[in-house]
Symmetry: C2
Subunit: 243 residues, 2 copies
């Protein structure tokens, strides 16, 4: 399984992904699920993937190759005139990769994958898309300002409650790490390290990026502190009165 979140803030875009993949519970590996393409001064795109690893690696490799040698039939996302067109290219690529494997007689669901795409191209706003295995996609807006893919349920309540569009990057990282910690505590197939990328709107360059490692002292503080913070929060609510 996987857990990735992409979030639209007033000051930019925030991405975080875990790195655990597994084929069965005793075959666990670490793979990067977040990828960037940056043309400084022109565009920044970040992609996060969940689902069949062979499918998502194939999609990323195809996008990479086309960036080096695009042609008319197979356009490069680095040449796309808008984020919307980039989302179409990635969605078509994803659908094609799944269709190719399915043609050999396997069920499509076995090769399924979902992708979050976010970024900005000069002349346009920051945009965030959720791309489905069927090759269609939706865009984040004011009502739905973030997307989650993978094991999303455990970490969702805190996002729904605490997300604010005017958060700072520092606050967004704190919120995401709490959401990831809740997921981690409940599902063995989501694991550290976590990759992140904080893209500042209108900067057109790769933003703060990095990896939260297993021994990260800040994550340890958040993880330990959150349990106490939750208990304190609970005690601030009035108790139930037995009739």
């Amino acid at each position: 399984m996987t857990y990735c979140v992409g979030m639209v803030l007033n000051r930019g875009l925030v991405f975080m992904s875990d790195t655990r993949t597994n084929a069965g519970l005793d075959n666990i590996s670490t793979f990067r699920k977040m990828h960037h393409w940056t043309v400084p001064g022109d565009r920044v795109m970040t992609v996060m993937t969940a689902g069949n690893l062979a499918t998502t690696q194939a999609v990323i490799s195809i996008l990479d190759e086309r960036n080096k040698a695009p042609d008319d039939r197979n356009p490069s996302i680095l040449a796309a005139p808008s984020m919307f067109q980039a989302a179409r290219i990635i969605a078509d690529t994803l659908k094609d990769v799944i269709a190719k494997h399915t043609a050999s007689g396997q069920q499509a669901s076995a090769f399924s994958a979902t992708i979050i795409l976010g970024g900005q191209i000069k002349g346009g706003p920051t945009r965030l898309f959720l791309i489905y295995p069927e090759g269609n996609f939706i865009e984040a807006g004011d009502d739905t300002p973030f997307f989650q893919i993978g094991e999303m349920k455990y970490g969702r309540p805190i996002l729904v409650r605490a997300y604010e569009p005017d958060m700072s990057f520092e606050e967004a990282m704190r919120l995401l790490l709490v959401s990831f910690d809740s997921t981690l505590k409940a599902n063995l197939t989501v694991g550290l390290p976590f990759d992140y990328h904080l893209y500042e709107a209108d900067s057109y360059e790769t933003g703060h990026e990095g990896r939260i490692e297993k021994e990260d002292p800040y994550f340890a503080t958040v993880s330990e502190g959150w349990g106490d913070a939750l208990k304190t929060a609970l005690t601030r609510l009035p108790t139930f009165e037995l009739g």
Copy 2:
């Protein structure tokens, strides 16, 4: 879908269930998913059900009928010498009901259901069981002091973090309502009203029981207050420092 939680506290057992059932998103009804059997001074048993409504209603009806006219082949849970034996009777009944429907050629998963059983029989301790559709079951212990059935993921993080065996019933109700509220906010197929039963250990009588209705002012306070409480809790954690 459904959401039910059964919890072992030092002072007794706590049960809460939602009441929404649906066959498709536009066919929603309210059904009781919590049932009690009490023989004052001797035993108290509470059952909560999740899964196919025809299956769970059949199980409850069969148990009820046997309580009125038990025989050797079909023992009544009111005659069971221990909670363990009661769990076996319910588990066998559940398995039989599912097997009967499956015999007509349908897949077993379509008729599947899961049951939480908790209670106490004179001479024994309070016990809590999770009964699977296959007819086997597990018991709660110090390491796993509560069971959830149905749509359990959204409401789990707060239970994992805030459960304490020495909680009062009032505190447990507050915790459960926060857990139910998180689930409600995320899944349309879990809905108010909620039924609850608070069984006091060694009382051998039905405890505080009731229903949290849609307009319940305490639930409204918890639901509104929890969002603010979570945000406050989050701000008490140190923020991330960008490198």
